[in-house]
């Protein structure tokens, strides 16, 4: 069986689902970051696969963008996370509700 576009897209969808589930359910901020990474990477897979399928490099270009942005996001996010942990000694999401409406 040849691995075609559909397989990549199914994989991306599964990963996206996992990521989404993680985003919704995880209470640990670190895990949340992981889940976000999974989400982003699932999209990257989709981009790369469709780019290859159409023979258009724009999709892969986008994937690189996403990787770069994800990296910087993680860098900033983890920095904030550490600061938060030092102050509050916890990275539980439920306790972060300073912006309650």
């Amino acid at each position: 069986m040849e691995i075609g576009l559909n397989h990549y897209l199914v994989l991306a969808t599964i990963l996206f689902g996992i990521g989404l589930y993680g985003v919704m359910r995880r209470k640990n901020l670190l895990m949340l970051f992981f889940a976000t990474e999974i989400l982003l990477n699932s999209v990257n897979i989709g981009f790369a696969a469709i780019s290859h399928y159409y023979g258009d490099l724009t999709g892969q270009m986008f994937a690189f963008f996403v990787i770069a942005i994800a990296a910087s996001e993680v860098a900033v996010g983890l920095g904030l996370l550490i600061v938060w942990y030092k102050r509050h000694n916890s990275i539980d999401l439920d306790e972060m509700s300073l912006m309650r409406g």
């Binding site: 989404l20 209470k27 949340l32 972060m96 509700s97 300073l98 309650r100 409406g101």
Partner: protein, 641 residues
């Protein structure tokens, strides 16, 4: 001659403003003197104008300045002195002068002496505007002006609850009628394009009867308020709360006759609508007997005279309604003299009796108050219409008019009322001046009024006696202006029978009244005698329960409805709806606030929900667009489209 017109008109205004300067100060005798002199000046000017008109001079017409001008409307301050207005001016200024002089004595001890004269002169000015104006709007200025002054003077002793209540009642009652008057003005304006008397009257014959009828009705509604005709009559009796000179001037001689004046002034209109005229005459006759009946049993001296005024106004309307405008005007004039005299006499009695008003508590006053007794007796004779006093001529003319015009019901009613008038007038005189000196029980020491007050009253006395002699001159004066005709009964025998019969009837009633009330053994009624227990007595004594009816079924419901409108409708419905809308928005916000609880994972979940929803909508729309044709086909198959 214009000069005299301006003097006659504006002297009272100057007088009022002058007195107004001192209102905040304690009594200043010169205020009374100066205002009296200024009113006298106005009287002299009016007399000069009267002589001028009597000699056949052309009516004087002046236009002072524009008042309102917009669109097609043009209202100037215009004044006219013609045969009708000059008569009114004479009546007004003469009685006013007498009352001003008299008030110097009557208000002698009042702390608001100066204020009294300010109001009184302001009233004279308003009345002059009313009678001299050459257009309906100017008439309305005077009309409301006298209403204002009447308010200020009825409520002159504003510390008394009853006085201020009566003042407000008078003002509001008059306002009801003024609305009618205003509508009458609008009708005139929109149908003739002007409010000037002469121009408007010239166009009246071209209008249809319906319009004319409505105009006549609404104008007459206005007249009904000022002249206190049924059913707007209750304020007049209550207005007796004011100082007695005020009652003499405003509520007997001048203001209350303004309604009659209006009908006379608008006679070209009422000539065209005889059916309305007949209604006016019938109402007049009804009010004549209605008011006289209430006067029969009343126990308040001033109210008795007030009801008699009401009754006489009924006579005037009866005459005016039947088209005998000059007769109405003549009776108006004669009535002004003897009724003002009667009131001023009553004022003397009140002073002597320390403001006691119940004639049953007086009696035998003729010894101490000889002159007042003579004056009031003569005034009562004039009122009863005894030959040869003023009332005989004027009232007789009204009766003759009704007879000649073949309105025998009106005639009979008026004739019967003449008898009642004689009875209650002399009941009052007998109770006050004859019989036992019942006041001694109350420890009162009566005294005659100041000399100059009596002197001031004397012109009225003279006129009450001799005014009848001027009937012919008067007729000639107004003949042209009012299209006056003599009402003559053809058969001389009938005339004699009628005149003598009437006189005999009246004199019999006078004697009866004397017999009944001049006795020595009159007791102060205490409500136990069989007469007082009778239904008719109670009905009359309570003024047919009309004030009670008004209080219970109009005033109170109005108050309650106002309360309901405020507390229930405005606060509970209208405002609550507005607040309700605000509350819905607010509570929606409060309910959905949970979404924004600041918890990242909750918000993320909401984000996902939103995303899914949007995706679903997008898909749904996409499918619909794609298969729109098939859907249409399907739906039309179902018969929906």
């Amino acid at each position: 001659m214009e000069k005299y017109l301006y003097i006659a008109l504006f002297a009272p205004l100057v007088s009022s403003l002058f007195a107004a300067l001192f209102t905040a100060q304690p009594k200043k005798q010169f205020v009374g003197i100066v205002t009296s002199l200024l009113i006298f000046t106005s009287f002299v000017s009016s007399s000069i104008l009267l002589v001028y008109i009597l000699k056949g001079g052309e009516p004087i017409h002046v236009e002072l300045m524009t008042w309102m001008a917009t669109g097609g409307l043009y209202i100037p301050f215009g004044f006219v002195v013609d045969e009708v207005s000059v008569v009114m001016m004479m009546v007004v200024t003469l009685v006013s002068t007498v009352v001003h002089v008299y008030s110097n004595g009557y208000m002698d001890h009042d702390k608001s002496f100066n204020r009294f004269f300010a109001w009184l002169s302001a009233f004279v000015f308003s009345m002059m505007v009313l009678v001299m104006s050459d257009n309906f709007a100017g008439l309305f200025i005077g009309w409301e002006g006298v209403g204002l002054c009447s308010w200020g003077l009825i409520g002159f002793w504003y510390n008394r609850e009853s006085a201020t209540w009566a003042a407000n009642e008078a003002f509001i009652m008059n306002r009801i009628a003024d609305l009618g008057m205003l509508i009458g003005l609008f009708l005139i304006y929109w149908n003739t394009g002007t409010l000037q008397y002469d121009e408007a009257f010239a166009k009246l014959p071209y209008l249809d009867t319906a319009t004319l009828t409505w105009t006549g009705i609404f104008l007459f509604i206005g007249a009904m308020g000022k002249s206190a005709q049924f059913p707007l009559h209750t304020w007049l009796a209550d207005a007796m709360e004011g100082p007695t000179p005020v009652s003499a001037l405003i509520h007997a001689a001048t203001m209350v006759t303004a309604g009659v004046y209006l009908v006379i002034r608008a006679h070209p209109l009422f000539d065209l609508i005889p059916h309305v005229g007949l209604f006016i005459a019938s109402l007049g006759a009804f009010v004549a007997i209605f008011a006289a009946s209430m006067a029969l049993v009343n126990r308040d001296m001033k109210r008795i005279i007030a009801y008699s005024t009401l009754s006489q106004l009924g006579y005037m309307f009866a005459a005016a309604g039947l088209g005998a405008y000059w007769v109405a005007l003549f009776h108006l004039m004669a009535h002004a003299f003897f009724k003002a005299l009667l009131f001023l006499g009553a004022g003397n009695v009140m002073h002597a009796m320390h403001d006691e008003l119940d004639p049953f508590k007086m009696g035998g006053l003729k010894k101490t108050m000889k002159w007042t007794w003579i004056m009031m007796t003569i005034a009562s004779f004039a009122l009863a219409g005894v030959f040869p006093l003023a009332g005989f001529y004027s009232k007789d003319a009204i009766l003759e008019t009704a007879f000649v015009e073949h309105h025998f019901i009106i005639y009979t009613v008026l004739l019967f009322t003449a008898g009642l008038t004689a009875f209650y007038s002399f009941r009052l005189v007998a109770l006050i001046f004859h019989g036992e000196e019942r006041y001694k029980l109350f420890g009162i020491h009566p005294h005659e009024a100041y000399k100059y007050m009596l002197v001031a009253m004397s012109p009225l006395l003279v006129l009450a006696i001799i005014a009848g002699a001027f009937q012919h001159t008067f007729f000639e004066l107004v003949e042209e202006a009012l299209h006056a005709v003599h009402y003559h009964i053809h058969s001389e025998v009938v005339v004699w029978i009628m005149t003598i019969g009437t006189q005999a009837f009246v004199i019999a009633m006078i004697i009866y009244a004397y017999k009944k009330y001049a006795r020595k053994d009159i007791k102060i009624p205490d409500g136990t005698s069989p007469v007082e227990q009778s239904f008719i007595y109670k009905l009359l004594f309570n003024q047919y329960y009309i004030p009670y009816f008004y209080e219970e079924y109009i005033v109170k419901p109005y108050q309650e409805l106002s309360e309901i409108f405020w507390k229930k409708v405005d606060l509970k419905i209208v405002d609550a709806t507005v607040d309700g809308i605000a509350k819905v928005l607010y509570s929606t916000g409060a309910a959905t606030r949970g979404m924004q609880n600041g918890n990242l994972s909750t918000m993320l979940r909401w984000m996902v929900v939103g995303l899914v929803l949007l995706l679903l909508i997008a898909v749904a729309i996409g499918i619909t667009v794609r298969y729109s044709e098939r859907i249409t086909l399907f739906l039309s198959g179902l018969g929906v489209l």
